[in-house]
């Protein structure tokens, strides 16, 4: 019975630690909408899809690789200087990411300005290093970092989608609101281009997720 085998495999996959970690980071314990971490950068870089996506990718790579490196070194890191070691690893990766952006995506790096550098102080990154990578094997830590980065990035891109659509009427810079809307008196919502607009959207995301999660628990 191939169907039963498939179902069985799916169930086994669902029970695997990697899958659990992934699901947790993406949904049940999403860094932004559930843990309310990384709000500062998610207000600042979500005016446009492009900046949000670049930020999401940069942060995901930084969390994933910092978790991988810290986890590989976890038996060698002297416990009394572990935070310093973690921050050094994270800072190095962030500066590398920033330098690469400056070399290959100059325009975006100008728009992101200080916020790429501020990934160093993003609680998500240090939180994963301290809370997960130090006590788990490298591969699982890497997946955990990836999942948390994507969890963060998905909210970022989601917020940016609404802010760019409602605030500028565009999607990745391409106009999507038909011109006759404007002729009939439709106006882009300026609030969405400002930080308070992001607060409102993030608030709605948090509300949505909490309601859905509490319903699931019953």
């Amino acid at each position: 019975m191939p169907d039963a085998v498939k179902r069985n495999r799916l169930q086994r996959l669902r029970k695997s630690p990697s899958y659990k970690a992934l699901a947790k980071a993406l949904w049940e314990a999403n860094p932004i909408s559930k843990q309310i971490l990384g709000i500062c950068s998610s207000l600042a870089v979500t005016v446009q899809m492009k900046t949000a996506l670049v930020m999401a990718v940069s942060l995901t790579l930084v969390v994933a690789f910092s978790s991988l490196i810290i986890s590989s070194l976890r038996r060698a890191i002297p416990p009394n200087i572990r935070i310093m070691v973690e921050v050094t690893v994270i800072a190095t990766l962030v500066v590398l990411a920033d330098e690469c952006l400056r070399a290959f995506m100059y325009e975006v790096s100008r728009q992101l300005s200080v916020f790429v550098g501020l990934i160093i102080t993003n609680c998500i990154v240090l939180g994963r290093a301290e809370g997960y990578a130090l006590s788990n094997p490298p591969w699982r830590s890497f997946v955990d970092g990836l999942a948390n980065g994507i969890g963060y990035g998905s909210v970022l891109v989601g917020v940016a989608f609404f802010r760019e659509l409602l605030g500028s009427g565009t999607f990745f810079g391409y106009p999507v609101v038909p011109p006759f809307f404007y002729k009939m008196g439709y106006v882009n919502n300026g609030l969405m281009r400002l930080a308070p607009g992001a607060f409102i959207i993030i608030g709605l995301f948090v509300w949505l997720e909490h309601t859905m999660l509490s319903k699931k628990k019953g």
Partner: protein, 235 residues
């Protein structure tokens, strides 16, 4: 003791590895970054004189093409004469000129000003009357995003266009950023020398005003030549 030594050795080793990585990245990517900065400078010069309108984005090739065709870099002698790079002497100042059919339409002075958190670099373009500002741009700064950082935004830079650096008697007054709105704080005839401030960025405004005054003062000899329509330049 050995525990402490181990921590020290680990920290030292980690620092060494990290710094090697960063040095490699920085030197390896320098070429690309320098290229980007060069384009960005040229884009800002074109924006300052109004050859690129507002937030329009042009490809690198277009920027290079327009720049090569319209803009020439000269050096200003202390007397206010323009000379080519090969005749430049110690103490001469760089100046970008927009040439159209052999005539100078506008000239651009590089601005380097103190800011709140770091230096502000930009360009100030003046029309060939030596009096009217044609545009102002900022290409590098370290001001707080959302506050002082607004100096890089089009809405702020647009306010500079048409302002006068000398009053109607011909005395140099520079252009300054006020605290609040110009129309509420400055009497009528002086409004041409002031720009609306950004709320939450009073200090950035004050430093930038001082920086611009200093730059314009240094370039006064050439501006005076422009006002008298007696600019000497190599053909």
């Amino acid at each position: 003791m050995s525990e402490r030594l181990r921590s020290l050795l680990f920290a030292g080793g980690l620092c060494l590895v990290c710094s090697l990585l960063l040095t490699a990245a920085s030197t390896g990517l320098q070429r690309f970054q320098a290229h980007n900065i060069r384009i960005e400078k040229r884009r800002n010069i074109l924006k300052a004189v109004g050859l690129i309108e507002g937030e329009k984005t042009l490809s690198e090739r277009d920027i290079e093409r327009i720049y090569e065709a319209r803009i020439r870099k000269f050096w200003v002698t202390p007397e206010g004469d323009l000379v080519d790079a090969d005749q430049r002497k110690e103490g001469d100042l760089p100046l970008y000129v927009w040439l159209e059919g052999g005539a100078i339409r506008a000239y651009v002075v590089p601005v380097e000003s103190r800011g709140l958190w770091g230096k502000i670099y930009g360009y100030l373009a003046l029309k060939n009357d030596g009096t009217t500002i044609a545009g102002f741009t900022v290409f590098k700064h370290a001001e707080t995003p959302g506050l002082g950082g607004e100096i890089e935004k089009a809405y702020f830079q647009k306010k500079w266009i048409g302002k006068k650096i000398v009053d109607k008697d011909g005395t140099f007054v520079s252009v300054s950023i006020v605290r609040g709105a110009v129309k509420d704080t400055i009497p009528g005839e002086m409004q041409a020398h002031y720009v609306d401030g950004i709320s939450g960025a009073t200090l950035t405004g004050r430093y930038l005003s001082a920086g611009i005054r200093q730059v314009l003062e240094t370039y006064e000899p050439v501006s005076i030549r422009f006002r008298m329509d007696r600019v000497q330049r190599p053909e």
